[in-house]
Subunit: 453 residues, 2 copies
């Protein structure tokens, strides 16, 4: 190629035995994968060999699935990703963490620490945590409202950014002879006073290799879009159709531009649950096998929870009842509930059919086909303004990730759309995003000390 | 040996370039060790080769030392220890974390996760965090009072223990054919309602390999002793004299017995800062070299902070002023302040001399001598009822740890007082402590489900 071509980005969204809720029941699956470090190491190394930009772990501070029917409980993501940092050398490591149930000082520090130990590979998927079970693990009867959660999230990220910036680059001098460890004029209190947080600072970790971890966001509600346009550098989004994907893509880039940001520095990655076979028939056989393993009672309970209706309102062999349409927005996962009711209506699905469709990825788009077909639909969205890359959510793990890595990635490499080896060392470099400067780096002359401790 | 002999336990207390405040200025030191993973890996591997029971990181959520004069800022301990778990296979990993500035659900989960990824090597040094700077990073003007902090700590540990126990052993069935992932009668809500915390549970991590992480405590105030007698399985303590060490040892074992605990299951490890040379002269030369590198202004400020007096009250060339004696107890680090004023009075030290004595270990006992002399004083305390082992705090790192590992450990092996190889796999096994059962494991018959999610 003579001129550099726009490149795809791929994130490997890892989940235990896979995104399909019944994947743990496949003959190949290790049902205890959730706490088996060997399983996770294997996944991370498959993704790194395929030069994925990053891998990613979702999270919430509660048992959310019913453990009777599906593996529940997961290692805390910053811990697990630190363990995976040691098993890899280049791939980015994106952990989900809640702004509603953490304190900025602690969390900013953990991400700074992960960025240090991984050599600049940390990313933070910022979530506000929509469920009630989580609230009840933190002294609350119910979650805060949707808007309230996002207001707190905005403050949380503002404080965190100040903390990451609080040590300017090069503040540590290490002047042994002079007995000066650091230039304290370059280490700053943050003195944040907001509605939710008061934080003095500075952070007790020197500025991390990436300056700040990569900031990722996944909510697609109006509050979520406002938030993402301001703060996110990458968005993981659930979009079922090309048209919806294009609308979302254009809207987010427009919002970013409206805030004075370079829209190229906001990467949009829709989720895809690829179910891959060497022939179409083989792919559909795998899809059928997974669907047959679904436990309807489980799927129905999860659906009722997302839609925030009593399970008794849903009948497996009838369409969604009228009550779930046209209601006020739920306080929980707004955009996900909307996407599910839209899908049910668009395709006129019974509850059982809807559960089958959702089994693969809880509202993310499932695509069943050959490697070429998977590659073609990804490229179609990429070429037609719906994606800068994809959040790859294998239905079963490790097999689905291996199939994507071994059979889909090579297609994009042949097409010149994806790297054949890592050219950068940091997660930001993989996504083509700049390293931010410290907001405290001044034009003022040096030498006027501020008290920091 | 025909009958098993009581064995020493050794914990390697790691700190950046060493416990001596001027260690970073030594020619051998890497002044940027605090964020250099290679440095920490090196230390962990030295300690593991010497079959130390554990390594340990102190911590607090604030910049506490003045970074102008000493490396400040440190990677968060659960993250750093996870990275070190990957570089080792047997040694225990003890992280300090604050009960005042964390939430039990988050912290219990991180320790459970560290225990899983390390194969049962996690320990938690429970601290209440005495300083004001930390409070100001969490929305408070000042720290809570001493008694208040310990009351919260007690609830915190109670909640955490329930969370670790909330999945009984073997709750995960992984029955693929039957479609039953877990026996939900063995996964429990904790429904804790206390003065400080309300937590519903269950934890979202299956029960960790050790059941619970090893619980360690270091406070020696009256509140600290009460707390440790109830909860701690190992105590890291600062004792300057054999008599004080014996008093503390006997008192703690008596308190544990009084609470119905087996006193053998409470291990007491005083701190020692060994400054080791192949001859006495060499050891004293190293000690002098370190003392000459002390920056008096720094030592004075730190001393004033611990004693909670204005720095202006202290004069380098005079004894501590009368005001610091016989005051009411400080709200911060009570026992440490007491130990320092006792030391100054006992030895009639000027402030400058006191700073020199404290430079090595902030109130821990410094011992300068040959490997045989270091071994002899350790064995003396061990034989005479002052210690079950020692918390080894090398003045300079890695050299001081290497000297202890290469020259002191072999002496104890020859004397039959320390293991020559690991016999257990978990931290609890190294310390000879049992794996606790889950408090939820009932005598009742199985099969009555409780709702968990």
């Amino acid at each position: 190629m003579s001129s550099p071509q726009r490149q795809l980005h791929f994130n490997a969204f890892l989940m235990c035995s896979g995104h399909h809720e019944a994947a743990w029941r496949l003959p190949e699956s290790n049902p205890f994968a959730n706490t088996d470090l060997g399983h996770w190491r294997d996944l991370a190394q498959i993704a790194e060999r395929a030069t994925f930009d990053s891998l990613f772990l979702a999270d919430g501070p509660a048992v959310r699935a019913n453990p009777e029917f599906r593996p529940a409980g997961a290692l805390e993501p910053t811990i697990l990703l630190t363990a995976l940092a040691a098993a890899t050398s280049r791939i980015g490591l994106i952990a989900t963490a809640s702004t509603t149930y953490n304190e900025p000082y602690n969390l900013a520090r953990r991400f700074a620490s992960l960025d240090h130990v991984s050599g600049g590979r940390a990313g933070w998927n910022i979530v506000t945590t929509a469920d009630t079970a989580s609230a009840q693990n933190f002294g609350l009867d119910d979650r805060p409202g949707h808007r309230e959660r996002y207001a707190r999230a905005a403050e949380f990220v503002d404080v965190s950014s100040r903390l990451w910036d609080s040590w300017e680059d090069g503040a540590e001098l290490g002047d042994k002879a002079g007995g000066i460890y650091a230039d304290v004029t370059r280490i700053h209190r943050v003195d944040y006073e907001g509605r939710y947080f008061r934080v003095r600072g500075p952070l007790n970790v020197p500025r991390p290799p990436q300056g700040r971890p990569l900031l990722v966001q996944a909510g697609s509600s109006q509050d979520g879009r406002d938030f993402a346009a301001r703060y996110a550098e990458a968005i993981f989004t659930a979009q079922q159709t090309l048209a919806d994907g294009q609308e979302f893509y254009a809207d987010m880039k427009r919002r970013a531009r409206g805030l004075g940001r370079d829209p190229g520095q906001l990467k949009i990655l829709p989720g895809i649950v690829p179910v891959i076979g060497s022939t179409e028939a083989e792919a559909h056989a795998l899809s059928d096998e997974l669907e047959e393993l679904i436990i309807p009672a489980y799927g129905l309970a999860q659906l009722a929870k997302t839609l925030e209706v009593p399970p008794g309102l849903l009948d497996l062999d009838r369409p969604l009842p009228a009550e779930v349409f046209g209601r006020p927005l739920v306080e929980g996962a707004q955009s996900r509930a909307q996407l599910i009711t839209d899908l049910a209506r668009r395709e006129n699905l019974t509850v059982r059919q809807l559960i089958g469709r959702l089994g693969g990825g809880r509202g993310h788009r499932t695509f069943t086909g050959t490697p070429e077909q998977v590659a073609d639909t990804i490229q179609d969205w990429f070429d037609r303004g719906a994606a800068d890359g994809f959040n790859v959510m294998p239905a079963a793990l490790p097999s689905g990730l291996r199939a994507f890595a071994d059979h889909v990635i090579p297609i994009f490499r042949r097409r010149g759309l994806f790297r054949t080896e890592y050219t950068g060392r940091t997660l930001r470099e993989h996504y083509g995003l700049p390293r931010p400067g410290s907001q405290f780096t001044p034009a003022r002359p040096r030498g006027v000390p501020e008290p920091v401790a």
